[in-house]
Amino acid sequence: MSVDVDKSAQPPADAPPPHPEPIKAIPVRHYGRWVAAIVVIGLVALLFRAFASGNVNWDAIPEYLFNGDILKGLRNTLLITVLSMIIGVVGGVILAVMRQSKNPVTSTVAWFYVWFFRGTPVYVQLFLWFNLGLVFQYIDIMPIYKDEWSDFMTPFLCALLGLGLNEAAYMAEICRAGLNAVDEGQTEAAHALGMSHGKTLRRIIVPQAMRVIVPPTGNEVINMLKTSSLVIAVQYYDLLQAAQNVGRDSGVVVEMLILAAAWYLIATTVLSIGQYYLERYYARGSSRQLPPTPLQRAKARLSGGFNRAGGAA
């Protein structure tokens, strides 16, 4: 690039380059920002005061934080979340591939599946699983297993199938969007190198689709954690159920609801941190330089002094 420079304005070659004089100017005062900050802080303080002086027994919350029943409910909530998500992801991948299949029967079946499970509330689906005994009296998988339906369909299985199969419909759409987001030139380049369909999908397409698939899937996990509180419909003993039971028995109903909310918040926070690092991993190659993690940024600040501009990367 060539820029016209007035030669006469340049200092003689032997003189040291002059230090530019930093601009000294009076910054603009944002009075509006100060007013807004004071108003917001005031409102938050009022809210705090209302809760603190309200008729809530705050001491009960730390007391029951590690209560055995509460912890059992929390464990069940995490278990059902993880297992339902596994069913959802595996089912979603299968449905997405079925949907793209050249076979009209498989693609239509996949379409109907998504249509049904996305089109009905998951609460209703849970009730349906619970009451499926009206349709099937017995379960009979000939040589392996035979039982009455009501014995077979435990609250756990109802919750698992209800949440997992519903999730599969959403995951199918997320996976389909991810696969479609990869440029067609990638498939062509892989095929031109002699790679088979399967290898192209596994080595080239899916790793790139993951960048599109992971962020909404993280959202789905967080959503699932909260949606799992609906399994109260099938009498599964989850965190909310535990909190309600403990609250009823000990006369601290509202306190236990706040406690449940706190546990949900802790769990979603942990999941959010995991999601951040997972997204970062799949973003490699898509941007020239990955932004530093909060940990790296903190380290850089400590070693470089606080006066250095943060987040310059």
């Binding site: 380049a189 031109a192 002699g194 080239i204 790793p207 020239r288």
Partner: protein
Amino acid sequence: MTTSKMTTSKAAGTSGGPMVKAEGVHKSFGAAHILKGIDLEVAPREVFCLIGPSGSGKSTFLRCINHLEKVNAGRLSVDGELVGYREHNGKLYELRDREVAARRRDIGMVFQRFNLFPHMTAVENIMEAPIQVKGESKSAARERAVKLLDRVGLSDKAGNYPSQLSGGQQQRVAIARALAMEPKLMLFDEPTSALDPELVGDVLDVMKDLAADGMTMIVVTHEMGFAREVGDSLVFMDDGVVVESGHPREVLGNPQHERTKSFLSKVL
């Protein structure tokens, strides 16, 4: 750029006949008739240039050669083998995907938009197909990838992702990636059309080096200088047919057809 030469024993082909032979090749997309009967022959070790206005079907023809597009009529063969079909007792049998993939191993292709794998570094891009397709060991593939990067003048960029490379560097990695499969034929689909003018030269230098090494190359290009200097034969296509063909210097210097003349007057 180093002059380490790659083995090009394959470049002569195994059939003893032409490397590519097209007889009355037709291709249409729906109602659009793109190729209207292409006849041509590419000899082993030849640098064969395809020129013509956009939409004339030259890229489509190139993509037919490695079966990225299916030919509708006519016969197209590479090194004596039909593209996409097996002939037995006078009947044609469509090849399975696996067989099509096997034939493509020997044909390298370089795209206008590079199409490097963005989630892999330069050296991983080059190693991918030898490992996945040929089952080569990781260390052997890496050793060759490093040599190829050196050959295209990018030995210091092995660990870079494509997004960290300029267009010209990406295209040279793409050429190295195709060469890693030790092809007997290289297809170039407007390899310099997406590049800034000052980056074109580096890519053309790599291609000249390859031509001097005896690689059979079919090049769809708008670089008339390259065609004149390196090309052994040249075909001018327009509207899905071959209008004129011959030695590049003759066709470019003394075009016989009106359409060739008017096209050349616009691009030269």
